[in-house]
Point group: C2
Chain length 249, copies 2
């Protein structure tokens, strides 16, 4: 039985909120319901590990949780083995994944999360690596990882920071749906476009889209699901997405 | 002596112009001054090779040049060996580079362009692969190429479709300068941010930024040069960028 408990955020920054604040209620309740007091933070997606850990840790501390960067442990493998909860922050997905491979943490994190129920929090790049692969990241490929295959905590892909095309735009670079459509010309895996503010909450075989309440006009924290050769489908917060966990492509 | 003749476009589509039309005068003159009548088109960045070749070929034909897709030749290696000029179109940079490796064309194209002076035209992804590496593409990594190292027709990197941050934007994904800055935290290679409409024209050891005349207010077809630990520098069309060819990092 899969024991995963995942809190996969599209982003840590959301328009109208302070850093991570959009997730305060839900993340606090996620940690509390999983009896988490101490969080192991993995800052590999950025280069200044101390500053990054301080930035996230100071927020978690304000909310009543302690937080320690994996780089402050003598051995990252032992740090993961002893972790009460794992939180992988955003930044550059390629750098993050390469470092996870270098530190031999891919199989170990997967094991801790899937078999031992260690709660996993991801944001942006940390959400990308939680999925099947990083083939649908938005990031610039600043380093070459040994593979694009990732932690595979869920059997589909996520596109974080999902954004609709700007209908009045004059820029001719590919839109996000066009990029995902290029992916689907060559791959079968479903891609969940997670809008900023949205979080995918996964518990075992159940997945729910959540997000903070908003009264801003025109703002939705939902998600858009893209599948090969199908029209995309929009999901509002509180939708169940459990069906996506059952599909092995 | 390096014999290269390169016409590196940021993009084939530019706001206010028909497909490729922004480059009509300059590209026509580039082909004519190099005595090119027949163009070998490489459509590997997209999946429908026939449609893509027809799209570009019909424009070139209108301008007086013939165009044939590499996929219509029995052997792509022989097609490149016999090419009067090589044109690599845009699409997905990862797919393009992977296919160039699969078809064993990397060293060959480099040889034809650098030692034999075969004129090279690139657009978007075709411009990315002409540079040192694809580490500064904007594209989604939909496939895994065997390397990010590219044709290295110039010793620096280009970021095509370069765009300044939207100062009024509410989206929290990294801006283009932030992405390039992440690259420079880990790499020394200069990155030329080539705005849509801009083209880098390279002849031997000389490089010039060109672009069509524009009377649109606020529109510039220039480029922005990013270097590690330095402030970016803006270049207007007709600027010489030859100094970039002399720098081997």
């Amino acid at each position: 039985m899969v024991k995963r408990n995942l809190f996969l955020m599209s982003s840590s920054a959301v328009h109208g909120f302070g850093y991570l604040e959009h997730a305060q209620t839900d993340l606090t309740s996620f940690f509390e319901s999983n009896n988490v007091q101490k969080v192991l933070f993995i800052p590999y997606a950025l280069t200044n590990y101390d500053a990054y850990t301080e930035r996230v840790g100071s927020v978690l501390k304000r909310w009543g949780f302690s937080c320690k960067g994996i780089h402050t442990f003598p051995d990252p493998v032992e740090a993961v083995q002893g972790a009460e909860a794992i939180y992988i922050g955003g930044g550059n997905t390629f750098l993050l994944l390469r470092t996870l491979y270098e530190e031999q943490l891919i199989d170990l994190i997967r094991d801790r999360v899937m078999k031992h129920g260690v709660p996993y929090v991801g944001s942006s790049a940390g959400t990308n690596v939680a999925t099947r692969s990083i083939h649908t990241t938005n990031d610039m490929p600043i380093v070459y990882p040994p593979s694009f295959e990732a932690l595979r905590l869920v059997p589909f892909n996520i596109n974080p920071h999902y954004i609709d095309p700007d209908v009045n735009g004059t820029h001719k670079g590919e839109t996000r749906p066009e990029r995902i459509s290029q992916f689907h010309e060559l791959n079968d895996v479903p891609v969940l476009g997670l809008r900023e503010g949205a979080t995918l909450l996964v518990s075992g075989e159940s997945a729910t889209l959540i997000g903070p309440p908003t009264e801003l006009p025109g703002v939705s924290y939902g998600a858009r699901l893209f599948r090969k050769n199908q029209q995309p489908v929009e999901f509002e917060p509180l939708s169940s997405l459990s069906f996506l966990l059952k599909e092995e492509v």
